[in-house]
């Protein structure tokens, strides 16, 4: 893995010099900022039972559905479309190093964008001037959830990018896969899975309650099963990306 850091630093650099990254960043902060403003307005109008941080993070699916495809759709598709993947893989670099380097860079930017929303809470704290109004627990839990779940979501994006030469197809595929995984939350409540034959699938769906995971994280419950869910999901998507890429090279 000696080339992992070379590829990672190169990819981060390329993301940071790409104007598209800043456009995506501004878009992300504008959406999250407006959500935050609405939240603060609602809280200033009437007292609420739950912490503003919990409500803020419950809307994580909005940026996940749009930002993850935007951040990852270019990574491998672009290399395959331009043919630069061939140049890359004919230097002493393995497919795993390439995939992990690109994954690391996309994850770094994902965390960087989410990290920038911490400024909202900092400003609120600065103006509120009273630490009693500010509950740090759900905030730390929320960011921890973002960091842990991001491993899996970005992995899905990289996997989708490895499947097609076309960025748009990769982006749409990533959006669909993310929507399916987030949608599992609502499937478990339906009568669809109540039959005996679908019980193994139902147990899988019950483990993939991402919104429930967020609530647990916000309440300070760090369940290793949930950590394992995201870690194994990320590992699986990365292994599939590496294998998929190598299979495509074999038939190129």
């Amino acid at each position: 893995m000696r080339h992992f850091f070379t590829i990672l630093s190169h990819e981060i650099r390329m993301l940071l010099v790409n104007p598209g990254t800043y456009i995506a960043g501004v878009f992300f902060l504008a959406v999250m900022g407006s959500i935050f403003v609405d939240l603060v307005t609602a809280y200033s109008a009437a007292p609420q039972e739950i912490s503003p941080a919990t409500v803020f993070f419950r809307l994580f699916w909005v940026p996940v559905l749009f930002m993850v495809p935007l951040l990852t759709m270019k990574s491998i598709s672009e290399e395959r479309r331009h043919g630069t993947l061939e140049t890359l893989l004919t230097s002493p670099v393995s497919t795993a190093e390439v995939v992990l380097g690109k994954y690391g860079a996309a994850y770094f930017l994902y965390i960087l964008l989410w990290g920038s929303t911490a400024v909202f809470f900092y400003i609120l704290q600065k103006y509120a001037g009273d630490l009693r109004f500010f509950d740090r627990g759900p905030l730390i839990g929320g960011y921890l959830f973002i960091a842990v779940s991001g491993l899996f979501f970005v992995g899905i994006g990289i996997f989708a990018s490895s499947l097609s030469r076309n960025q748009a197809v990769s982006g749409f595929l990533c959006f669909t896969l993310l929507a399916l995984i987030l949608g599992l939350n609502f499937v478990s409540d339906t009568d669809l899975l109540s039959s005996e034959t679908l019980s193994p699938f139902k147990s899988v769906v019950q483990r993939a309650q991402i919104f429930q995971h967020l609530d647990d994280f916000s309440r300070g419950i760090i369940d290793t099963r949930q950590l394992l869910f995201y870690a194994s999901g990320a590992t699986l998507t990365l292994i599939l990306s590496i294998l998929g890429l190598e299979a495509k090279i074999l038939h190129s």
Binding site: H3, T6, M14, H82, P92, V93, I249
Partner: protein
């Protein structure tokens, strides 16, 4: 690191390929290809589109695995040690794909790091290859905004950056103007003796000028291999003379047979206003018979001789004949195996 391996096994061939086969879902892209490239030699890879040149090159770089057969680079098997082989090869793929949004110096620096060049050496080596490829003034330009010629130079600079013992370039001069072709040609020639080079090209005169040996491949099979002179002799197999003469052609045949029994008229053109016509004569004799012809026909009162020249077949002629012949053999229905193998016999030379 590549230098070390070159020093430890200096006598082994740079590239050794034996019975290489690559099939895609039943289609044989490379069919039993065998050849060797000596150290410091420049080998030209010729073949029509879809002949299997790029596939063979990709297998040599360790990018694609072969279905069967063996390929060794500096005595290291490609199939089992692709990572080591990649350290020994500088490769420029077909169409020279480059990242559009990087600067030339940034790109070379990144590639140098991936090729495991030490930071201290990297800066001086980048300056060296830029000088060699005349890229000094373009070093800070974005690759996507470079002209085709400069992009090709960036690709070549990248291939030779780590000073590997083997360079493989797939169509390095495609789309270049004559000045740029000359520059690339000189650049490749300057590598002779230091690095082994395989280049594929459609520009046959260029291969003829640049390469020590030529390998012609068609429909996945090696058709022939040798120096351009050897190929001319083996593939064309006869000498061609062009005559400008006036007189009765029926009488000419017997006059020619008197000079050399194997002389035949292969092509006749219409006479010009002065009654002279251009004729092409072929003979199996390889040694020059022009002087005898000139004396004999000049002394013969029945004919008026205006010109006589020995035609030298170009590599293009050799290529056309060789690929046509191999296609005939491959396309012949139910051809016996012996005939197929005949197309590869020159390979054993």
């Amino acid at each position: 690191m590549p230098d070390d391996s070159t020093q430890t096994v200096p006598t082994s061939p740079a590239i050794e390929v034996q019975n290489l086969v690559k099939s895609y879902a039943g289609f044989l892209a490379v069919n039993n290809v065998s050849f060797t490239v000596r150290r410091g030699e420049i080998l030209g890879f010729l073949g029509p589109n879809g002949a299997g040149k790029s596939t063979t090159m990709r297998i040599l770089t360790g990018y694609l695995p072969a279905t069967s057969g063996a390929a060794r680079v500096c005595d290291i098997p490609v199939a089992t040690h692709p990572e080591e082989v990649k350290r020994l090869i500088g490769y420029m793929p077909e169409n020279n794909p480059l990242p559009e949004d990087m600067r030339v110096s940034e790109y070379l620096h990144y590639r140098g790091r991936l090729k495991e060049l030490r930071r201290r050496k990297l800066t001086s080596r980048i300056a060296e290859v830029m000088e060699l490829c005349d890229l000094g003034r373009e070093r800070h330009r974005i690759i996507g905004k470079l002209s085709k010629g400069f992009r090709q130079r960036v690709g070549i600079a990248e291939a030779i950056l780590s000073e590997p013992p083997v360079i493989i370039m797939d169509e390095p001069t495609i789309g270049l103007d004559p000045h740029q072709i000359q520059l690339v040609r000189d650049l490749i020639a300057s590598l002779r003796g230091r690095m082994s080079v395989i280049i594929s090209s459609h520009i046959l005169p260029e291969i003829e000028v640049t390469c020590d040996r030529v390998l012609i491949i068609n429909q996945g099979r090696v058709v022939t291999m040798g120096t351009p002179a050897e190929l001319r002799r083996d593939i064309i197999g006869h000498s061609v003379y062009k005559l400008e003469i006036s007189g009765d052609l029926d009488l000419l045949s017997s006059a020619l047979t008197a000079v050399e029994p194997t002389l035949k008229i292969s092509e006749t053109n219409a006479p010009d206003a002065d009654g002279f016509r251009a004729l092409y004569l072929t003979t199996d004799r390889d040694d020059p018979i022009g002087e005898q012809l000139m004396r004999s026909l000049g002394a013969d009162a029945r004919f008026r001789l205006r010109g006589l020249v020995r035609e030298h077949p170009t590599l293009e002629d050799v290529f056309l004949v060789a690929t046509r012949r191999s296609r005939d053999i491959i396309d012949t229905p139910k051809a016996p195996k012996g005939r197929n193998s005949k197309s590869q016999t020159p390979n054993s030379k």
